[in-house]
């Protein structure tokens, strides 16, 4: 068992390294010198060289990469060009907010999706199926930043029931589990839950429909099993597929929250990323993307391991 997990972990390492390389090379994609933000335009040549040396930009690329990775592993993602603060601290704070939002939307989206998908599969071809499918396809077709805007117009501007900005009273960036903060969570969480809900609905519907078509379900009926028991069998068969889709969707919620966070000024990683982009704060940009991508790699690893544990058909060797 441990051997198996260890092996999966080892297989994930090269991916993680390659991901780091992509993040690192983002700097060199960017037009112009990444240090333009710190170096005054009229700085004398010696100063420029000194600053470059301070940031290690004078050394060969691969040495820069190795030392960058070394520092990153130790939790040092450099210093923000714009604020001068360590990047890691800002990211940590933002990440916890993003996670709060992602968990809330995932909870709404996944439970809604499983419910709708199961209903659609069981009542295939009926109006229930059509309604669930319609909700699902709307969910995946709607630009969520626009949906957020509509919710803001209705619930904040017109009705004035819920706040539209920030994660807490007075635009506070520190999350707490009380009603004052929860009110801020509702709109962004609802906005974000539609895509995972749509996708999970479609996945559950397709998976369950396929299982219902397979011969073993007929065989289960032929054994005289009652409905709840057969449902259990179907659920256990569908679980690995649905789980892996949910894992992926959770990752998308983490990494894709930038648009919604921008709409609601939610102080998460997406919001931070937006700031980094417009201030051309390359270390911060690099850091956020690296952290989010690593989260995603880890999440994939976790899903992979869970899936293997749940599905006896996948060989563990």
């Amino acid at each position: 068992m441990f051997v198996f997990i260890f092996r999966r972990f080892l297989f994930a390492l090269p991916i993680a390294l390659a991901v780091a390389a992509v993040c690192f090379s983002l700097v060199h994609l960017a037009p112009g010198d990444p240090l333009t933000a710190v170096i005054p335009a009229d700085a004398p040549a010696e100063v420029v060289i000194a600053i470059k040396e301070a940031y290690g930009m004078d050394r060969p690329l691969w040495i820069q990469f190795v030392s960058w990775v070394q520092r990153a592993v130790q939790g040092d993602l450099g210093v923000s060009v714009a604020t001068g603060r360590p990047v890691m601290g800002d990211i940590q704070l933002a990440l916890s907010n993003t996670l709060t939002l992602a968990f809330a939307s995932a909870f709404l989206g996944f439970s809604g999706g499983i419910l709708l998908g199961a209903l659609a599969a069981v009542y295939r071809g009926t109006w229930i199926d059509k309604a669930a499918t319609a909700v699902a396809i709307t969910g995946v077709s709607v630009p969520h930043y626009w949906l957020g805007l509509i919710l803001v117009i209705i619930f904040s501007v017109q009705l004035d029931w819920l706040p539209s900005m920030g994660a807490g009273p007075g635009g506070s960036a520190n999350w707490a589990w009380d009603w004052a903060h929860l009110r801020h969570l509702i709109l962004p969480a609802v906005t974000m839950c539609f895509i995972p809900m749509g996708i999970v609905t479609r996945t559950v519907r397709a998976t369950v429909a396929e299982i219902l078509n397979s011969e073993f379900v007929t065989a289960l009926q032929a054994r005289g099993l009652r409905r709840p028991r057969i449902t259990l069998h179907i659920a256990k068969n569908a679980a690995p597929t649905v789980l892996s889709v949910m894992g992926l969707q959770f990752g998308y919620l983490l990494g894709g929250s930038i648009l919604v966070e921008t709409v609601f000024s939610w102080p998460g990683t997406g919001f931070l990323l937006n700031t980094a982009i417009f201030q051309r704060d390359i270390p911060l940009l690099q850091g956020i993307i690296l952290v989010l991508a690593m989260f995603f790699v880890a999440l994939n690893l976790l899903v992979d391991v869970l899936q293997t544990l749940m599905d006896p058909r996948i060989k563990r060797s």
Binding site: R7, L10, K315, S317
Partner: protein
């Protein structure tokens, strides 16, 4: 009679899975030292259960997969990509193959005409002529070209599709045709039609067949010679009458005996083997049949028996056969005869 096809010590292992360093974790011993001869105009039947390597052998002969070891000679010539050999495209003109799944072996996006004409076009036949060939061949395999030529595979029944596959194989005018379970998926009434067609074509075009099947009755009907395979090895081979009447290998006898009688009133005493055929991933040591063999003794699990002559062209690989055992392990001929006539 001359051999058209001669196979010597063919071997193929398939690696399965990979460990951290890219080495295979398991190896399927698919085909192990298989040798045989096929004479011109005859039909060699290859029988065996799943995992015995009969289909792999067919694909090796066609060079669809490359053998690890061994030689495949057609009229004494060796083909392949290795230097000094004759080019594969020459081989394709001499040997063709019909597959079991009549649907999967036709491209669903092509009409019947395009599928049949594809081979000749590859070999440089002009389009108009290739189309005419396709029509003639369809007629020849008993399908009205006027009705079928523009059809797509899914619009045909299984039997009709298999006729198309035969036409497709014949379009390159081969000398040898490998029929890999070609009639196994068909219903009996349709199977008989296709078997008749195959017999007619063989007579008319002077073809040589390799007929691979798990259906022992059909193999008996169509073959001149038979080769029995078990877990990648040939256990017995010989002329069909002799092999079916007096099988020398315990596996052949059990296999032949396991077929229920087709006529009422002749209930048989079956020789029932224990268990399933083992996995070719880890074949048993020595004689691969020994764990299921009622006559197995110590030597059977230690050494691989040589193939020895039983009578004429009839050969088998079993320690119970007189010459096979070597001097120390001689088993009386008397005993063997008792068993085979029992």
């Amino acid at each position: 009679m001359t051999s058209v096809l001669r196979v010597q010590d063919l071997k193929k292992y398939f690696p399965l899975g990979k460990d951290l360093f890219g080495r295979p974790t398991q190896v399927v011993h698919a085909v192990e030292s298989v040798s045989f001869d096929v004479k011109k105009g005859r039909t060699l039947g290859i029988v065996g259960e799943s995992g015995c390597g009969k289909s792999t052998t067919a694909r090796l002969l066609m060079h669809l997969i490359e053998p690890d070891e061994g030689r495949i000679l057609i009229h004494g010539k060796e083909y392949g990509q290795i230097g000094g050999r004759h080019p594969l495209s020459e081989l394709r003109k001499q040997m063709q193959m019909v597959f079991q799944d009549s649907y999967a072996s036709l491209n669903p996006r092509l009409t019947i005409e395009d599928s049949i004409a594809f081979g000749p076009r590859i070999h440089g036949v002009k389009e108009v002529q290739a189309r005419q060939m396709a029509r003639d061949l369809l007629e020849r395999v008993g399908l009205n070209p006027g009705v079928f030529i523009r059809r797509y595979p899914h619009e045909l029944s299984g039997g009709q599709r298999q006729r198309v596959n035969i036409a497709r194989a014949l379009a390159i005018q081969p000398e040898i045709v490998i029929l890999d379970e070609a009639v196994s998926a068909l219903d009996k009434s349709v199977q008989a039609q296709v078997l008749n067609l195959l017999a007619d074509l063989k007579k008319e075009l002077g073809l040589t067949y390799l007929f691979i099947s798990h259906d022992l009755n059909v193999v008996q009907y169509i073959s001149d010679d038979v080769m029995v395979m078990y877990l990648g090895q040939v256990v017995e081979s010989g002329p069909v009458e002799q092999l079916y009447r007096q099988s020398a290998h315990p596996y052949t006898r059990a296999l032949l005996n396991s077929v229920p009688a087709q006529t009422p009133g002749t209930r048989k005493d079956y020789i029932v083997l224990e268990g399933d055929p083992p996995n070719p991933i880890a074949p048993p040591s020595g004689c691969r049949f020994h764990p299921r063999c009622e006559f197995a003794r110590a030597i059977c699990s230690e050494k691989t028996p040589d193939t020895v002559r039983v009578e004429g062209e009839h050969r088998a690989a079993c320690f119970r056969l007189p010459q096979s055992a070597g001097h120390q392990h001689y088993i009386a001929l008397q005993e063997v005869q008792d068993d085979t006539t029992h």
